[in-house]
């Protein structure tokens, strides 16, 4: 088996269909959806049970989380395989400490359990597995050849997004009086805090004496964070469907200034999406 497994070879059964993130971003209809004056996705406001479309929006979001869990499992598994055990500081050598691999194996178990939880939740919410398309950006972030960048992009950025989503959905379940959703989200949230903390801890340990590598990792995290702010889907604006879970991020090792930066990144992502929408507006007028 190869070291580094390309995203296009990711194995799925026939129920699952991959849609490129670019297809979503370049959808000319996004101009209308991004228009805050319309009933657009953001215009619909925070994802709470009061939204008329809330049950279906929750189903779609949880399916997205489910396929994200599959990819997180695959990414953590690849980190067990792709790198040799070593000091983790070898120049140009893909080495990681033994203990990092143990953490990734533990994450494999957690993500496998999250997949099982998500499958049960899909049954509870009436969603068929594979009902919605899958984008594979999480796994793409997990393909980074530098293990530090890989963990920073996946564990700090994407698992961080999972903290925000799980916290939002936990509250959604609590308000809706849905004991199944609330229970599942609460437990998965605890695991995600652990995973983000793993990412934070390994970033600091492995780059303590290598500031340029640390900066490259943090820059990679910023790129992933911006992309997965999904044009303002996640942010601290009043109408952001998913909001930053600052308390849980703090538990996971995020400092206040890092969370402020993330909020700013989400704001920029929103502004960029609005710019894309504006650029596409002539097509819609036509």
């Amino acid at each position: 088996m190869r070291k580094s497994f390309p995203v296009e070879d990711l194995a799925r059964d026939e129920r699952f269909v991959h849609v490129a993130l670019a297809d979503r971003i370049n959808d000319p209809r996004n101009a209308q959806a991004a228009d805050s004056g319309s009933s657009g996705r953001r215009g619909a406001g925070r994802l709470t049970p009061e939204r008329p479309d809330a049950p279906d929006a929750a189903r779609a979001l949880m399916h997205g989380i489910f396929v994200g869990e599959i990819q997180a499992l695959e990414g953590a598994g690849r980190t067990c395989w792709d790198f040799e055990v070593g000091s983790g500081n070898g120049e140009g050598i893909p080495e990681v400490p033994f203990e990092l691999k143990l953490d990734m194996a533990r994450q494999c178990w957690d993500e496998a359990r999250h997949c099982e939880i998500s499958i049960k939740l899909s049954g509870h919410m009436g969603t068929d597995l594979g009902e919605f398309s899958e984008n594979t950006f999480l796994y793409e972030a997990a393909c980074n050849p530098d293990p530090v960048l890989r963990l920073t992009g996946v564990n700090r950025a994407l698992e961080g997004l999972a903290i925000d989503v799980f916290n939002t959905m936990r509250e959604f379940g609590e308000i809706a009086g849905d004991p199944v959703l609330e229970f599942c989200e609460d437990w998965m949230l605890a695991d995600e805090v652990t995973h983000v903390k793993m990412g934070s801890d390994w970033l600091r340990k492995l780059t303590a004496d290598d500031k340029p590598r640390q900066e490259r990792a943090l820059e990679f995290q910023r790129v992933v964070d911006k992309l997965f702010s999904l044009g303002g889907f996640r942010g601290e604006e009043d109408d952001s469907p998913v909001r930053l879970a600052r308390r849980f991020r703090e538990l996971a090792g995020f400092k206040d200034d890092e969370m402020d930066t993330l909020a700013q990144i989400a704001k920029e992502a929103r502004e960029e999406m609005e710019a894309i929408a504006e650029a596409n507006r002539p097509a819609i007028a036509h």
């Binding site: 799925r12 059964d13 499992l73 395989w81 055990v85 494999c108 997949c115 099982e116």
Partner: protein, 195 residues
Amino acid sequence: MEESARRVGHYKWIEMRLFEVLGGWVATVPELDVKLRLGTHCYHHAWHSELWHKRLPELREMNPERLTAPPNDELVAFVDAMTEPEGPDLTIEKLVGAYRVLIPAKIAAYTYHRNNTSTITDAPTIRSLDFALADEFNDWRDGEMMLQSLIQSEAELDRAIAHQAALQKLMLAAGGIAGPGTIGDSYEPTQEAYA
């Protein structure tokens, strides 16, 4: 004690190879149930490797890396062959290697060790062997069930048998996961025989 430490070092080496490949295979198998089991079992074997890693200094090996090694080149050849399948259509081969060859070999080795070391002086090793064996039996059962659900035709059965035979020969050449004598030698004359 040296013999126990040598074996524990081999155990750590093979557990590492197993958890690494199970993790690597997750992305390559299309069957969702298999994908999730591999992820779960990946951690079991990582934890076993951690148990052995922590046991080594207690067996007077202060540099665990020194004994973290295969017993011979033949076992390396076995691991190379077992970890070779990658394609999405090779789930049967992947599972056969892990669940019909390696894990039964580990169960045999761990059981032999458990039954032949001192229950008092080497009790910590026995305790770890018991934990590991509990996982091995459960994982073997899961793996066998997955294989039986995947093998639906005579052609698939032939594939499984052929791959198992090829790997079993390599394991035979290695003498087991701890090399020759992994499960002792039933035909070796005992001291009593010469008494």
